[in-house]
């Protein structure tokens, strides 16, 4: 649960950074945030998978 909360907040932070980057023409900041967001997505996929197997084994 705690990890999910951290991911949600970090994801929102990244979206915020992307919006800021677009608004302030800081393209590098926006792209770095996009990259971080995608990498966190991959962590989410692993978490989904974890939830899936846990459900399957019970």
């Amino acid at each position: 649960m705690g990890l999910a909360l951290v991911l949600i907040l970090a994801g929102l932070g990244c979206v915020g950074a992307m919006l800021y980057g677009e608004w302030a023409s800081q393209k590098l900041v926006g792209s770095a945030a996009l990259g971080l967001l995608l990498m966190m997505f991959s962590a989410v996929v692993v978490l989904f998978r974890k939830a899936d197997t846990a459900a399957g084994e019970e």
Binding site: K27, L28, S31, A32, L34, G35, L36, L37, M40, R49
Partner: protein, 391 residues
């Protein structure tokens, strides 16, 4: 001695698998998708390459400025350039992990030589395409690399001068040089897809794409790195004032670094020897099949009277070693009486794995030295042996 080294390497490779499997899920293990990862990076390269191509101007005066405009003037241009730059590095890493993994785990021999040879040709073409990419930027390093290339080409005993002239489009660097380099960048890259067909042609269901988790992670990492370490050019090329040293991008420019220690002709010869040895690897087997632990069960044979032409073995064979041909006479068994097709084993492709035997419900395939009835006997013996007391 060498045999022990190989066993060590094989064991280490497999242990790396097991280690990652403990950390991550088995079907997310990146080592099982090294070819797919290379393909992912190649796709990124092609997409970003098309976008960069739209801005690139292959002329001595305009090349550097057009790359600078892409980097500074185009929205997110620097990101696209970075993606192209770092995806190329990722491509090489994935290719080499793929190569070593398949080498160390013995997955290049016999029926798989076609994949190994096509892989070697793919490697040479990708390396060449990546190398010419560094020339297109047309900064000081590009100029130095071009002069080193020309020097190396001229050092080839027969026809070297001719090759250098063909490369430059004249006796020296001139207006037709960069269009040629651009062609030498894009043509090998497009050829990769023809070579990939060769790479896949003998594989049933090749795994050409990594799982979503790695697609997301690699794309994310590419975006992140391109933003944190933006790809830049050196100073603009000034003909006549080439610098003596350059920053080596090791994945692609190592042949030039080699030329620091070796005369150009020897560096070229060394690269030629490495490529030739790479092509020879699948035929360098010294041990007999028995020494390698193969049991020599014999290649799968079709029991013609039982084959119903159902194509199950054809779909399951991982090496495309089974072809379905029109059947001219009916089979003897009841199920095979009305068959239209007959399975045929293409023997040079068969590795004696027996997957087709497991696929066949009609007992129409056999491994000559491990027959169905023998296995059944072993099963009966094992299942019916008197139960020993609990241990």
């Amino acid at each position: 001695m060498t045999k022990r080294l190989w066993l060590r390497l094989q064991s280490a490779t497999l242990k790396a698998d097991v280690f990652i499997n403990r950390l991550l899920y088995q079907d997310f293990n990146p080592l099982y998708y090294t070819g797919g990862l290379a393909n992912l990076f190649l796709t990124v390269l092609v997409i970003t390459g098309i976008l960069i191509f739209l801005y690139y101007e292959p002329s001595l005066e305009g090349a550097y400025a057009s790359v600078q405009f892409l980097t500074e003037g185009v929205p997110y241009g620097v990101i696209f350039r970075g993606l192209h730059r770092y995806a190329a590095d990722g491509f090489m890493i994935a290719i080499f992990v793929h190569l070593f993994r398949n080498w160390f785990t013995d997955r290049y021999r016999e029926a798989r030589d076609s994949q190994w040879i096509s892989g070697m040709v793919l490697l040479v073409f990708s390396g060449f395409a990546g190398l010419t990419g560094y020339l297109l930027v047309w900064d000081e390093r590009s100029l130095l690399l071009v002069s080193m290339t020309v020097q190396a080409l001229r050092s080839i005993p027969l026809g070297g001068n001719w090759l250098a002239t063909m490369f430059l489009g004249g006796p020296g660097i001139n207006g037709t040089t960069l269009p040629r380099v651009l062609a030498l960048h894009i043509a090998p890259a497009m050829t990769l897809y023809a070579l990939l067909w060769w790479h896949y042609v003998r594989l049933r269901a090749p795994r050409v794409w990594p799982p979503a988790v790695w697609v997301l992670f690699c794309l994310g990492a590419l975006f992140f790195v391109s933003a944190v370490l933006p790809a830049t050019s050196g100073a603009a090329a000034q003909p006549g004032s080439a610098p003596q040293s350059f920053e080596v991008a090791w994945f692609y420019l190592w042949p030039y670094a080699l030329m620091k220690w070796l005369a150009p002709a020897w560096a070229l010869a060394l690269i030629g020897v490495i490529i030739a040895y790479g092509l020879y690897i699948p035929y360098s087997i010294r041990e007999t099949p028995a020494e390698r632990g193969l049991r020599g069960l014999g290649q799968a044979t079709v029991v013609e009277e039982n084959c119903t032409g159902c194509e199950l073995c054809y779909y399951d064979c991982p090496y495309n070693a089974i072809y379905m041909v029109p059947s001219h006479e009916p089979g003897k068994s009841k199920a095979a009486a009305n068959r239209k097709l007959l399975a045929v084993v293409v023997e040079p492709r068969c590795v004696e794995c027996g997957i087709c035997i497991g696929a066949c419900p009609f007992e129409a395939l056999e491994l000559p030295r491990l027959l169905d009835k023998d296995v059944q006997e072993m099963i009966r013996a094992g299942a019916q042996a008197p139960a020993p007391a609990a241990s």
